[in-house]
Symmetry: C2
Subunit: 200 residues, 2 copies
């Protein structure tokens, strides 16, 4: 097509590499950019470059940060005696967004999944054991996803840190707040009944 400028084709190509964006959406985005002030596109380009140039992984917990250690590990107001173990950084951010946790984190970078070739060595486990072994930790909260892999990984970690005599807890499973009992799946309902707590 002599009609499509290379700069437009390039932009569409690059945009369509992003997850959830096909060539049609990419084209739509490109034309949106064309009709907006160029500084909007420049701001996005700068945000992309700033992100990949400056993103670091915290050497303590494995979270992303601009600094090492990360803001949470450096923060003296956070309780260092509680470590919340999550699969991914996005899980950490979700818990932070809930504002319900004042301890520190440990990001595994995945879950045990033998079928996909992910064993203990592929996860950020050695540093977790080292952190717990150093002392000062009283509780390890296992906040992996409530899936088969997440449960397996939680059990694995529980056994791994058992020798340090710390308390090991698992986040609660039950009905989501605002959820509907009628439409809950069987395992969630079973868990909700099994893990019932005294009504206050």
């Amino acid at each position: 097509m002599s009609g499509t400028p290379i700069i437009l084709e390039n932009l569409i190509d690059e945009l369509s590499r992003l997850p959830g964006i096909g060539r049609r959406s990419a084209r739509r985005i490109a034309f949106h950019i064309l009709h907006k002030p160029p500084d909007d596109a420049r701001a996005l380009a700068k945000a992309l470059n700033d992100f990949v140039d400056n993103v670091r992984f915290c050497s303590i917990c494995g979270a992303i940060s601009e600094t090492d250690p990360c803001g949470i590990c450096k923060d003296n107001s956070r309780q260092k005696r509680m470590i919340c173990v999550v699969e991914e950084i996005s899980d950490l951010l979700a818990i932070e967004a809930s504002g319900s946790y004042c301890g520190v984190y440990h990001v595994l970078g995945g879950v045990l999944d033998p079928l996909s070739g992910i064993g203990p060595d592929e996860l950020n486990l050695d540093s977790l054991v080292a952190r717990v072994g150093e002392g000062g930790v009283e509780e390890v909260i296992l906040a992996t996803n409530p899936t088969a892999e997440g449960d397996t990984t939680a059990m694995f970690i529980a056994r791994l840190v058992a020798r340090f005599g710390v308390e090991v807890t698992r986040i609660a499973r039950g009905l989501p707040v605002g959820g509907d009992l009628e439409f809950a799946d069987k395992s969630t309902l079973a868990r909700a009944i099994e893990n019932r707590v005294p009504q206050k």
Copy 2:
């Protein structure tokens, strides 16, 4: 949230300004970028900057191009005696992609839409009249969308160029190729019957 680095928040903010991308998709894209080589994100940033820095509008037809006149207007193998009038650059690209047209284009930059305050002055019409008036043009093909606004705009242009005595045609309406008669809407079916052509 002390847990979310500003560079990540910025990237999510900028991504979620794009059409069809909410904060959830933006976050997903950001984490995708995090797990890919940084050069992928840099390539996208470069494509964005290259696009807004180098995109030009052709002074003849209004298409986007890296050059002025654009590749199509400069191309001596294209028939200058046919001008295909389209609403948007994306329509031009769609026709180019079909490989079914060897003439030149004229991009209106919209359609007449009095309710949205878009009258003839808001469209790229003066330059179309000037092009046709210069002579050498034998046919004006009206390829605005088959919508109420597109039809109105087509009629308006037909009257506008009538004085030059050029042939004015409208792209055909009918059943889409591969379409199903049973599921076609009434107006499309009516058009398909009205505009029937001899079976070859």
